[in-house]
């Protein structure tokens, strides 16, 4: 059992199943693991909880990560202080890509659908725009496809020089396309680096 646990302060370490001495990298890994565990339709949890419980669980995980990933907030928390005041000013320091969790959309807006259908050349920036309109982070695509993050970033920067060969690149690009709900074949034929 944990040594300190006030009545209204949840045990963030237990939430992420971490040791009190966990390093920064262990916290990030545990957070990633927790997000995978409670992602939509996750095999390990879909039968245990309904949609609202799942969201609640994700909120708890976000909160635990928000506190523990910030060295200062973590220190306040470890010392058993009230962290609410410190927390609000700290939010600004955080990388919004990792912290903000907005539910992903599963469909493109009508306008976006039209642009996807009529755009002859898909630039990296356009892909990023499609993805952001869906509220999907690159981290979450990396999480579900297990594609290293820098490859995904390379697609949006149109820098395909890092890939060992084209087949490799194409296979990953296809998975990326599915993750942002566009047809892989459409992307292969219109992706700018492929057209050169």
């Amino acid at each position: 059992m944990t040594s300190h646990k006030s009545d209204n302060q949840p045990d963030y370490y237990a939430e992420l199943q971490l040791d009190r001495k966990a390093s920064q990298i262990e916290i990030i890994n545990a957070y990633r693991q927790a997000r995978l565990t409670y992602q939509q339709d996750a095999l390990a949890t879909y039968s245990l909880l309904g949609e609202s419980d799942r969201q609640q669980m994700l909120d708890r995980i976000e909160e635990a990560y928000r506190i523990l990933s910030d060295p200062e907030l973590r220190k306040h928390y470890d010392e058993g202080e009230n962290i609410e005041d410190a927390a609000s000013e700290a939010t600004a320091r955080h990388d919004p890509n990792i912290i903000a969790f907005r539910p992903a959309r599963r469909q493109h807006s009508p306008e976006m659908q039209w642009r996807i259908a009529n755009n002859e050349t898909f630039e990296g920036a356009f892909l990023r725009e499609i993805r952001e309109a869906l509220n999907i982070s690159l981290q979450s695509i990396a999480g579900s496809t297990r594609i290293p993050l820098h490859y995904l970033q390379a697609f949006e920067n149109e820098d395909t020089s890092d890939f060992p060969d084209k087949a490799f690149c194409k296979s990953y690009l296809g998975q990326y396309a599915k993750a942002i709900h566009i047809d892989p074949d459409l992307l292969f034929s219109r992706y700018r680096p492929f057209q050169e």
């Binding site: 693991q33 565990t37 996750a42 390990a44 949890t45 245990l48 909880l49």
Partner: protein
């Protein structure tokens, strides 16, 4: 070896460990066909290679097939003989196998009534399991949540649950855990049970009744700390381990950790993820050749994963007994 009445055997003569009660480990699952017998047989082989003295017991009563996974003929005496003849002990019906240190109590030639074991006979087996002459007694239990299965599982010092990365199997694993925890908590003292009832009936702050075991245990700990502690200790005795079998997708290898986390959040109980076994097409082929997989394919990934699991189980056991 001629059957000898058990009380005439001097305890220290046969094996140094025989004076001590063996560790009993049970393998069970909520759904059938997830590889219980395959895993029991190969864990047995891997443990025997670590110089452990083992007896595998096929308690998948009525549909025993552990002998096939070990690649031996169904032969000789079985549990039915033990149940119906008071002079026969479990050690007398344990058949040696081709693997040194590994014996099998088979259910292959049991009579047709075995699947519906009456309470007295179940208790007789459970009592005698802890008197078997071995370091570890490994039970292969049936699928599902019948009381027979749950009770044997609770008797064991340690439980091993195989799961395959399919929705049906994952669902039934949770189902099995719920039934197991429920059955286990029923053994609480009467006063504790009355307090449990009260909490289960009462409404929470949000106006709803308690829905998860974790929140039930929290409520218990808040209102009746000693009783809550008793329940937590009682659940921790189960010492549960999870094996993901037939992992195919890269994501499958993460199922174990995810289930471990969900189990902690929802049941407030630890389910240690032991490791995974990669999907391998040669498994049915080896079964047809009637050889234990580990002996037929000692260099396979499956064999290596089994060895890792066994090493971590042995290490874990050593830490536990050092703490005790």
């Amino acid at each position: 070896m001629a059957p000898i009445a058990r009380h005439t055997v001097p305890p220290a003569a046969a094996h140094p460990s025989s004076a001590q009660a063996p560790e009993v480990w049970a393998v069970a699952s909520g759904k059938g066909g997830v590889g219980k017998s395959f895993i029991t047989a190969n864990l047995g082989v891997a443990l025997a290679r670590q110089k452990k003295k083992l007896v595998l017991v096929d308690l998948d009563l009525g549909s025993a097939n552990l002998h096939t996974c070990l690649g031996i003929e169904a032969s000789g005496k079985s549990l039915s003989d033990f149940l119906h003849h008071s002079e026969i002990g479990l050690d007398d019906i344990a058949t040696p196998t081709s693997i040194e240190g590994l014996k099998l109590i088979s259910g292959a030639s049991d009579n047709l009534q075995m699947a519906n074991l009456p309470f007295a006979q179940k208790s007789k087996i459970a009592r005698h399991l802890k008197r078997i002459d071995a370091d570890i007694v490994l039970l292969d239990l049936g699928a599902g949540t019948a009381y027979n299965t749950l009770d044997f599982f609770i008797t064991a010092n340690r439980g091993i649950l195989p799961v395959v990365p399919e929705p049906t199997s994952v669902e039934n694993t949770y189902r099995f855990l719920k039934c197991l925890f429920n059955r286990k908590l029923r053994s609480a003292p009467e006063h504790t049970r009355k307090l449990m009832q009260k909490i289960l009936i009462a409404k929470q702050n949000d106006g709803r009744k308690i829905r998860t075991l974790a929140s039930f245990l929290n409520a218990m700990s808040q209102r009746h700390p000693e009783h809550g502690e008793w329940l937590r200790r009682s659940l921790a005795e189960l010492d549960l381990h999870l094996i993901v079998n037939q992992a195919d997708d890269p994501a499958d290898t993460e199922l174990g950790r995810a289930m471990q986390m969900a189990c902690q959040h929802y049941f407030a109980s630890s389910l240690n993820y032991l490791g995974y076994l990669p999907f391998d097409r040669s498994v049915p082929k080896t079964l047809r050749q009637r050889k234990p997989f580990l002996l037929a394919n000692p260099q396979s990934r499956i064999a290596i994963h089994f060895e890792h699991m066994v090493a971590s189980l042995i290490e874990d056991e050593a830490t536990r007994s050092a703490q005790a």
